[in-house]
């Protein structure tokens, strides 16, 4: 709108689709600055996006899908014919295939699997079964595996023969296995380069390599890669057989997605990413499902006010302070929630260390509660010239701040213990509790001090 002279890329893309100039379209999209493809496509309808993907060479279409945010890619795949979708998906790495198909409707996924090669389809069926944030769910099956009895020359010959196939593997190590013991070692390309052809590979491999079981979770994977400077971790089953490799980049991507998901859930976006290119009905109902729970929690908290209406009628100026106490306690508590969530992710606290967290929060709460209470009490005093009113409001906020930070620190630990997502539930639970306590404190202090603060 504001930049009239600038032609937005989706306008150009549309005209190339209309003129049917596929080569020009392919070149245009390949040369758009990184990130612009996602933006351009998101401005077009689902059908239109699918049409464009269908026009591009399959390899380029697959690369494009990998570049887009996942919900967008899946949306496009769902609008392609199963034949086209299968051809494009087959060009992606195995874990990406599993992600795409796992996020789709099961009928559509089956239709695509039926059209892939039986081996690829089998791989994907296996991968889809692992939970998404585990080593099994994050690994790729594309990796180089050699028998432990080979020599350096054999490996180099195999690499040379299959150079084409391996080129897309993006691997830095080869894994050495034996039929009896499963994974026995890791071979670095670098060492291969510097050794004579006759050496047995077992003599240059790194024996007893770091590996992870397929059900190891994301937090643990992340911490393991923080410790060891590896590009990938081999993933094994109960019998130490090699299943695949988790690449560092996939773990980091998953951790990053987790942090984003936390941010979104913390802000009440539930049920996956939301982009404004998604259908209105989906966006509105997803947001509403969370809001409508929240409104009933709010009504619950506000019922405390209704219960004390007489006090409020006697001291109407209290009504000014109720929303402030509610908001400030929520803010103080949310700070503590965020710190607990970070410490949990980093492994700096365990869910059972509840008392330590509450102790640490209580001291912050005492200080901040005193300061905030003094501010609000001072304002109330000056405004109405009534020191008792100041005391009532200030004391209520001070005590409620203390409560809020202790609750805020504790709730994520409790939720984690119950295997719930702290990012999602901490906020609503916290604010409902702190609202109820805050309203109760102000109004019951006020009713006790009524003779000194009521307006005639």
């Amino acid at each position: 709108m504001e930049e009239d002279e600038h032609v937005e890329p989706w306008v150009e893309i549309e005209s190339m689709v209309q003129s049917g100039d596929v080569d020009q379209l392919d070149e245009f999209m390949t040369n758009l600055p990184p990130g612009e493809n996602a933006r351009a496509l998101s401005r077009l309808g689902d059908e239109e996006q699918a049409e464009i993907l269908g026009l591009l060479p399959q390899k380029d279409a697959a690369a494009l899908l990998e570049e887009l945010p996942e919900p967008q890619s899946v949306g496009i795949l769902e609008h392609l014919s199963p034949d086209q979708a299968a051809a494009i998906v087959s060009e992606a790495p195995s874990n990406q295939q599993a992600n795409f198909l796992g996020a789709m409707g099961s009928e559509q996924a089956e239709a695509i699997l039926d059209r892939m090669t039986p081996e690829d389809a089998e791989d994907v069926r296996q991968l889809v079964q692992y939970a998404s944030d585990t080593a099994g769910g994050l690994m790729v099956t594309e990796c180089l595996v050699f028998d432990k009895d080979l020599r350096v020359g054999d490996v180099i010959d195999d690499l040379r023969e299959n150079a084409e196939k391996y080129a897309s593997f993006n691997v830095q190590y080869a894994y050495i296995v034996s039929p009896e013991d499963g994974l026995v070692g890791v071979l670095r390309f670098r060492d291969l380069l510097l050794s004579s052809r006759q050496r047995p590979i077992v003599s240059i491999m790194i024996a007893e390599p770091v590996s992870v079981h397929h059900d190891v979770g994301l937090d643990k994977l992340h911490l393991t890669l923080e410790r060891y400077p590896l590009f990938g971790l081999p993933v094994t089953d109960d019998n130490n057989r090699l299943l695949g490799v988790v690449h560092r980049s996939n773990v980091q991507k998953a951790v990053q997605e987790q942090a984003n998901r936390s941010l979104l859930r913390f802000a009440g976006i539930v049920g996956g990413e939301e982009f404004r290119s998604m259908p209105l009905r989906l966006r509105a109902t997803r947001r509403l499902s969370w809001l409508s729970i929240n409104i009933f929690l709010n009504l619950l908290a506000a019922s405390v006010i209704a219960y004390h209406q007489d006090t409020l009628a006697a001291v109407i100026s209290l009504a000014v302070f109720l929303p402030i106490i509610s908001d400030m306690s929520g803010c103080s508590g949310n700070q503590a929630v965020a710190v607990s969530m970070r410490e949990l992710v980093l492994g700096l606290i365990k869910p059972y260390e509840l008392l330590r967290v509450i102790g640490k929060e209580a001291s912050v709460g005492l200080i901040n509660g005193t300061v905030l209470g003094a501010i609000i009490g001072g304002v109330a005093y000056i405004w109405k010239g009534n020191p008792v009113l100041g005391l009532v409001v200030g004391a209520a906020l001070a005590i409620n701040t203390l409560l809020a930070v202790c609750l805020g620190g504790a709730i994520p630990l409790l939720l984690r213990k119950l295997r719930q997502d702290p990012a999602l539930a901490s906020g609503p639970i916290l604010t409902t509790l702190t609202d109820m306590c805050g309203f109760f404190l102000v109004l019951s202090f006020a009713s006790a001090a009524l003779p000194w603060i009521s307006t005639p």
Copy 2:
């Protein structure tokens, strides 16, 4: 507390330090599960943590520091003698050195630099000058560089000679440069492996490689690596001279830290990470600095209520709905804020696309505002048996929800235009505005409808 039979690792560490058994300590810490070192050390005092690091072999101490969250590492380094700190820092990769020293007090950093080798110190001084979230700030200077006139055999011989030195580089490519043209190509180890010694490296290198200028920002780096499946991007200056390499893993780490920072700021933790092992004064004052701004914004918003006290006195039950309207509008608006922040990071919207965002939000706001307004209006009607009261409260929430989502969607774009951090400022700005509007709407609707809703 709850697990009495379990000896926490910091207790064991303390006893090993006291008995002075360094080998045992080193082994114990190396074998703690990933993540446990950070937790164990965070339970000890700064002096004690520094003492432990000083006892360990420098290489292991450096590896340990890399494993810890950065604020914790920097805290420990600051408590070491400059000699010890310099010895340990020298073992870390160059960008890590720059991060550590950049986060320290400048006197302490200088003292450490003085004790490093002149070349290392010079590298770090260079690196510190680049802004942290740019290619320059994220790159390492450790990379393999060869002149374009060499042959495959020359490169292999050099790799063999310097195997020791290169082992710590963790690189997958060598970069090919010419004195005149700077960076001209990239050589993959794999291709080196498969070629004869006599071939000139220019014939097997990838010419015109993807590279980035040192001032390219994190978002762009991230999008570039989404497109190209590379382990690292070469970083160049204005004259195409090679300065270093940004590894994919460092970019992903930075993106992840950015997402965490957003979450923390969104929740009002400002000024860097907060861990509960940090000093109380720092934790309390950092949180308070944000809260004390917020409390004045709250007072500003609540002044709208004070202004309409007479209306409120006439219809005291409105006081029950004020905090609900405030909280619900804040929640609706924050959902829109989160979606805008995500879309900005992913490049799906540009700051100038304000009208598109407001349009998309308005339709969600109309639907959700109607539903939420109906709920709250219905409750008010049933509670007081007064349909006009229901209408007043419901209409106010409906309109305010529409306003809140439009503001919530727009504010991050405006802040980005002004080069401010949306995660930090969006929340307080949003809630202040929506509170003011919300209070104003309810109370002025109520005052217009006073004859029908006032309690006698």
